[in-house]
Amino acid sequence: MTTHLGVMLLFAASVAAVFGALLRDEPRSQARLAARIFLGLVLAAYGLGWVLYLAFA
């Protein structure tokens, strides 16, 4: 998996899993927090990508 999107998704999933386990104690709330962090990272990357694209196009 060497596409930009694939690597970004893999990175976001890894970071989200660690922070989910680190900041919550119950497995269910860990998974919920990890999902929120993952979505936040991916959406932020997309948003920032579009902003930079439009700013420098």
Binding site: T2, F11, V18, Q30
Partner: protein
């Protein structure tokens, strides 16, 4: 109302397992977590968290090496390189194994070179956070 004596308020707490036996101290926990990601939490009886940390952080380090990332040496002449090296040493075991096996020379022309570095750096820094959390558990600052 009289406040409790300072010595009592600051009395060291020794975390114990469910069967009443004492858990390893903060230094042993930190060293274990530094050598093997997640080992500090395993010593503190948090097997589920330990498994997640070990799996994800070791996998991140392996992915970083697989993507052509570089294991940087400490160079005081270049502050950014020094910081990157310090971050990578945050995961001592994977970093040492990578260096001993000759991995991590870094493929600068690979399209994934910077991605690999990002994985290596993030793995080390996340492990530092994990170690600090385990030390908090060991010292009693964080409830089990």
């Amino acid at each position: 109302m009289t406040p409790p004596p300072r010595s009592a308020a600051r009395a060291p707490r020794s975390p114990r397992t469910a069967d009443g036996s004492a858990r390893p101290g903060a230094v042993a926990t930190a060293l274990a977590g530094w050598f093997v990601p997640g080992a500090g939490h395993a010593l503190q009886g948090q097997a589920q968290k330990a498994a997640v940390f070990a799996l994800v952080l070791i996998l991140m380090f392996a992915i970083g090496l697989g993507l052509g990332g570089r294991l940087f040496a400490f160079q005081t002449a270049d502050p950014l390189t020094f910081l990157v090296a310090a971050a990578e040493w945050g995961a001592l075991g994977p970093r040492a194994i990578g260096a001993l096996t000759g991995l991590g020379r870094g493929d600068v022309v690979a399209v994934t070179y910077e991605y690999g570095n990002a994985f290596l750096i993030a793995s080390g820094l996340l492990n530092v956070l994990v170690i600090l959390d385990a030390v908090d558990l060991a010292s009693g600052r964080k409830p089990q």
